[in-house]
């Protein structure tokens, strides 16, 4: 007899930057039965129920359903398949079926994405690089004997499959695991249900870790809540709040409207566009320098810089730092968040945008903006796939600088000011013993559907980089609706600090300060 069958291509393996397997496809054995060949259906059902962890009555019903041939269990774990095989029951057999396996369970689930039952990659890397990973199926036309064995002397026309490419990610499994651990601990402490941590390499935009909660197990997507599939680092936006002040101050210095010696009298509020915008808790700081704006997280100071910049320049710098447009990261499902067109700005928007309200950003956008400050002023396109290997060899992804957003001098000044914000300011809780840290806290209000803000609920965040003297890592921590409300930034800083300690030790970074 002649058969015409597809030869499925092997889906590519996904590795982390050190070669650890993050996702791979393995053929697992599916158990089928031909009930007519089973001498004692009840006994067989009882034996199988123990091994498969199923109800014997259900198996009996299936075996007695009258079907000539049926699957009893699909893609069994190998140990279970071996145990069933050892029963040596007549009328049972195995057929191999491919299954995507994720050895680290739910770690990096949002980066990886998943593969649907029909073999299509969805979300994350699996979705973005689906064509590359999937390969091209082959085809085999062959003559076979009654036992379905291919005849050596028979007709044979074969087009071999082209296997999918193996991907090497920029993700570091150790850093990813640390980020997920710190995020879960922070959310548990704050009884919060959602949050994000993003870690990037400021020198080239490589994404080292993305932790997003709520999460899911890539192998159990069928039962996952759809909201858990959303990667909050790229497909969720929020008003970044005070973390945006670093961008405003950088824009002011770069545009030449302020410098580090600029001082103003902080009254606890600033009037702009006919509105009065207050500092947090209405506190008046008195004479305040530019550095102290970041140390004290003074809204009035950010409004002062924004007003000096004017709407056009502030808007332009927001866009130059990458806000309002997708970063272009190679992950499926990214959104651009929103910076409204200048024509739609009200006069007060200059003030609110200066301290991160009235616009939205994704955590990854914020991380990349801080990466630009950390690396000397260049905005990079973040990327997740460092290389891929196929039949033609290895292909490496080149880092892509998007544009210079501020000069090296401005970036150096911001690094110093943000370091001071940690050493001397409200962000002191993020300080490390033997390393310099630069960063800024953020407490954002949550817009409600009626155009106002939700009462007494916040999004706490911390964005920073370390070591500040020679930045190697940028991290953004976000906690949605922390139980401690305005004090949620403390938990965000704890998470940042715990992560930074682990990462610096793991990366064997030399301390830049005396302990």
């Amino acid at each position: 007899m002649r058969t015409d069958e597809a030869l499925p291509a092997r889906r590519g393996v996904i590795h982390d930057r050190n070669g650890a397997i993050l996702a791979t496809t393995v053929d697992l054995r599916s158990l089928y039965a031909i009930p007519a060949l089973i001498p004692d259906l009840d006994a067989a059902a009882a034996d199988l129920a123990v091994l498969l962890g199923r109800d014997p009555a259900e198996l009996q019903a299936r075996l007695g359903s009258g079907a000539e041939w049926l699957f009893l269990a699909r893609r069994l774990p190998e140990e279970t398949a071996r145990a069933v095989e050892a029963l040596a029951l007549p009328g049972l057999g195995f057929r191999l079926e491919p299954k995507r396996l994720y050895p680290n369970d739910g770690i990096a689930a949002h980066v990886l994405g998943f593969v649907s039952d029909d073999g299509l990659g969805q979300y994350g890397v699996e979705g973005w690089y689906d064509t590359l990973l999937r390969g091209v199926d082959g085809r085999l036309v062959a003559e076979r004997d009654p036992a379905a064995r291919e005849l050596a002397m028979g007709l044979r026309e074969a087009r071999p499959p082209r296997d999918g490419a193996d991907l090497v990610l920029t993700i570091d499994l150790a850093i990813q695991t640390a980020a997920e651990r710190e995020l879960r601990a922070a959310l548990e402490r704050e009884s919060a249900t959602a949050g994000t941590i993003v870690v990037v390499d400021p020198l080239d935009g490589a994404v080292l870790a993305i932790a997003s909660v709520p999460s899911y197990h890539p192998a159990g997507v069928a039962v996952a809540d759809p909201e858990t599939l959303r990667d909050r680092a790229i497909a969720w936006s929020y008003e970044p709040g005070s973390t945006m002040k670093a961008v405003t101050v950088a824009a002011g210095i770069e545009a030449g409207v302020v410098d580090r010696t600029t001082e103003y009298e902080d009254l606890g509020y600033a009037d702009i566009g006919g509105r009065r915008l207050h500092n947090a808790l209405g506190r008046a700081w008195g004479p305040t320098t530019l550095t102290e704006i970041l140390e004290r997280s003074a809204n009035a100071g950010a409004v002062m810089v924004g007003a000096k910049l004017g709407p056009e320049l502030l808007h332009e710098y927001l866009l130059r730092f990458g806000f309002g447009a997708p970063t272009g990261v190679d992950l499926a499902g990214e959104i651009g968040a929103q910076v409204r067109p200048l024509a739609e700005w009200y006069p007060v928007d200059v003030g609110t945008a200066a301290f991160g309200q009235g616009l939205t950003a994704t955590p990854l956008q914020l991380a990349m903006a801080y990466a630009a400050l950390a690396n000397g002023g260049t905005l990079y396109r973040p990327y997740v796939v460092a290389a891929w290997r196929d039949a033609d060899g290895e292909h490496r992804a080149a880092p892509l600088p998007v544009r210079r957003v501020v000069s090296e001098d401005t970036a150096a000044q911001l690094r110093a000011m943000l370091t001071s914000a940690v050493d001397e300011g409200l962000a002191n809780r993020a300080a490390l013993q033997a390393f310099s840290v630069a960063g800024k806290t953020g407490t954002a209000q949550i817009p409600s559907p009626d155009g106002r803000y939700v009462d007494d609920e916040y999004i706490s965040s911390f964005a920073g980089f370390f070591p500040a003297s020679d930045p190697r890592f940028v991290a953004v921590v976000i906690i949605e609706r922390p139980e401690s409300r305005l004090l949620g930034t403390l938990t965000a800083m704890d998470a940042f600090k715990g992560l930074a300690q682990d990462v610096l030790r793991y990366a064997r970074v030399q301390p830049d300060r005396s302990p």
Partner: protein, 135 residues
């Protein structure tokens, strides 16, 4: 094609008649014998050739059959070996997955916690420069 000629029997009466015949006749008779001998040789040769051809055909058929059987058996063996290779590769892939599971930092951390290990609260950093100066 095998040609056959009828064999003639030579009786005693004919032999005496031949003795009575003159020398020319006897010479003619000898040449006839030679022809007969030649005819006989040709017949034997034809028979032998035919037999050899049959035998050769038989041997070739046997050879062909044995070769075909060997190729078929080889084909089955090849498929068996390919299946064995695929199974070994599958087992290898499963072991790689198992190795990755065991190497997973999350699993190691969970196991460490389970046996009572805790994270260090403080990491002591020893500056290398000071040590170098002391030396």
């Amino acid at each position: 094609m095998i040609a056959t000629l009828p064999l003639r029997r030579v009786g005693p009466a004919r032999r005496s008649a031949a003795r009575a015949r003159p020398a020319a006749t006897r010479r003619r008779g000898r040449s006839t014998v030679r022809e007969r001998k030649a005819n006989l040789t040709w017949e034997v040769r034809s028979f032998a050739s035919a037999s050899a051809a049959i035998a050769l055909g038989f041997v070739l058929a046997l050879l062909y059959l044995s070769q075909t059987t060997a190729i078929s058996a080889g084909g089955y063996e090849l498929q068996r070996l390919q299946a064995e290779r695929d199974e070994v590769a599958r087992q290898s892939a499963l072991l790689e997955v198992r190795l990755a599971q065991l190497d997973s930092p999350a699993r190691i951390e969970a196991d460490a916690t389970r046996i009572g290990l805790v994270r260090v609260s403080h990491v002591l950093v020893v500056p290398a420069e000071k040590l170098a100066i002391r030396r």
